[in-house]
Symmetry: C2
């Protein structure tokens, strides 16, 4: 039994339109009547129906968030920051999950999100197809990638991935490491990974270090990929250091090396990309390129608060390098 | 410009009611007309408005999820499992965040959730007040705690926390540890923590081990609480083993001990409660009481799929003890 405006109207002896004006604080009404209406509303457990009021105004204060999984090393930080900043700014958030690397599934989730009349969809570490983006544009729904970049014209908020690859490599070169591996990401298919890889290659080239194809070990950003990478690199101990695609990969690699009696950083150095808390919790602590995921989430909401003409199509969030104990 | 049913009706030259029947697959209509309607709907970018159809039917297929933060060691696993199981069963999920240990904030978030016309609210590791539960009951909204228990009459899905405390202690006693500490949870205020603590005390008593108040070190389940616990216990090295309230606490304690040159498990053993992946990733690997968070999330949706009369008010999800390398 859901209490309705008409129920309040009946009990207060006034019209539904008047009740609506009072509850929505529009138009004029006496304070006495307003008091009465609010009291009745509370007594009968009336709650304003957001569906109904969105329908009536055709405006929505709801932000949709689509993510693949929270159980990674940073998506949860981005999502937490989005939700808390959205809440502070009186937006509601609706979250939905999409399968990883499944464009069809993502399209369907987007469609269900549109049906919810959100005014914006934030994609956390996941990229919709050009077709979906076009559709969202046509419907006037603001789409924004957070924590990832795209070669398409979709606006995004992320780190500068080319610079991450370049500066990570430069950092290791500056410390005297020459033969530097690149582990844990598939560098052939994905835009972000290709960007980082390009930066890495460019820094090696600039330092006149001749890159060898077997310095690279592909993977899917996971802890297990790190374990596999350690096994692989144990047969390539001529390397001096390895850049790992994520904290998960670094962690797996560190454990993989240690379990095989390979000392980090004495025998081989590791530089992680991401820099979440887990870098501080491994022993030795992981040196890392540290991204600011919290700021990415916060900036996403600030983007939506701007007027459309002031919105930039790319926002790069600064990163830093934190030397810890897996590099000398 | 949102496309409406009436726009389709106009273009198809039939009534809005007919269009609605076709789109909702109710009533009779010719296949030819249906084809035409679907084609127009696609062309003009029509999406069924869930708000409108929920309003019309006064039924909702949306589940609300309220959590405090995803950035813990297990809430993200529970939430992921809820969302993916809900999706599989054609439910939508709306997630909202509430501040930790702030009953007022939680009440407000609940209210905003009710305004969204959800048919159920799942509380992940957070407990609403009796007043809120009563209100939800009055409105016919199914409330359910997941990953936590409550002394109130709210139904919940969790591990049996008394048994966790009891069996964890028993496990250590069986391995010859006598003086066993209890670290990282505030045992005075919280229901779940008190349950575990009672189990711990009961097991000690049964084994005729005389408990000493300074075996207990309170905390807030965090990594930092673990670091602090290690400092504390370094001055109480007569203890043989410690039960830690969470993986985070265990991890902090393990690092805290190692950073001080205290060997685990040679000098002191640690048994963690939770058993998430991080237990496999520390060195040495953490022995743990392992809860099944994925099954908790899955079971929450199964609970909702049952008819109200078949729903149990308490569902205990089995846990197990995984001996690894921080106990002998």
């Amino acid at each position: 039994m859901t209490a309705k405006i008409s129920d309040i109207a009946k009990l207060a002896g006034i019209s539904s339109a008047s009740v609506s004006r009072i509850l929505n604080k529009t138009g004029r009404y006496s304070e006495e009547t307003a008091k009465k209406v609010h009291k009745i509303a509370e007594e009968i457990g009336y709650y304003k129906d957001i569906s109904a009021s969105n329908l009536a105004s055709q405006k929505s204060s709801t932000i949709g968030i689509i993510y693949t999984t929270l159980n990674t090393n940073f998506s949860n930080i981005v999502v937490d920051a989005i939700v808390s900043t959205a809440t502070m700014n009186h937006f509601d958030t609706i979250m939905m999950q999409s399968k990883k690397d499944d464009a069809n599934d993502l399209d369907q989730v987007c469609q269900r999100m549109m049906e919810r009349r959100v005014f914006s969809i934030l994609f956390v570490s996941i990229r919709p197809t050009a077709k979906t983006i076009q559709l969202l544009n046509n419907l006037g729904i603001v789409s924004l990638l957070v924590g990832t970049a795209s070669p398409l014209s979709t606006p995004y908020i992320s780190s500068n991935d080319y610079q991450i690859g370049f500066q990570a490599t430069q950092f290791l070169l500056d410390r005297g490491y020459q033969k530097i591996g690149f582990a844990g990401a598939d560098t052939t298919t994905d835009f972000v990974r290709r960007q980082r890889y390009s930066g890495y290659l460019a820094a090696l080239k600039q330092a006149s270090v001749r890159f060898s194809q077997d310095w690279k070990f592909d993977g899917d950003f996971s802890y297990d990929a790190g374990i596999q990478a350690a096994t692989y690199y144990c047969h390539h101990q001529d390397l001096h250091a390895i850049i790992a695609a994520s904290d998960e990969v670094s962690w797996g690699m560190l454990n993989g090396f240690q379990d095989r009696g390979v000392n980090v950083p004495e025998q081989i150095a590791i530089l992680s990309i991401d820099g979440t808390d887990s870098c501080l919790r491994t022993r030795p602590k992981l040196s890392s390129v540290t991204q600011n995921f919290e700021l990415m989430g916060k900036t996403a909401i600030e983007y939506l608060l701007q007027s459309p003409k002031n919105r930039k199509s790319k926002v790069f969030i600064p990163f830093r390098i934190d030397p810890r104990n897996t590099t000398r």
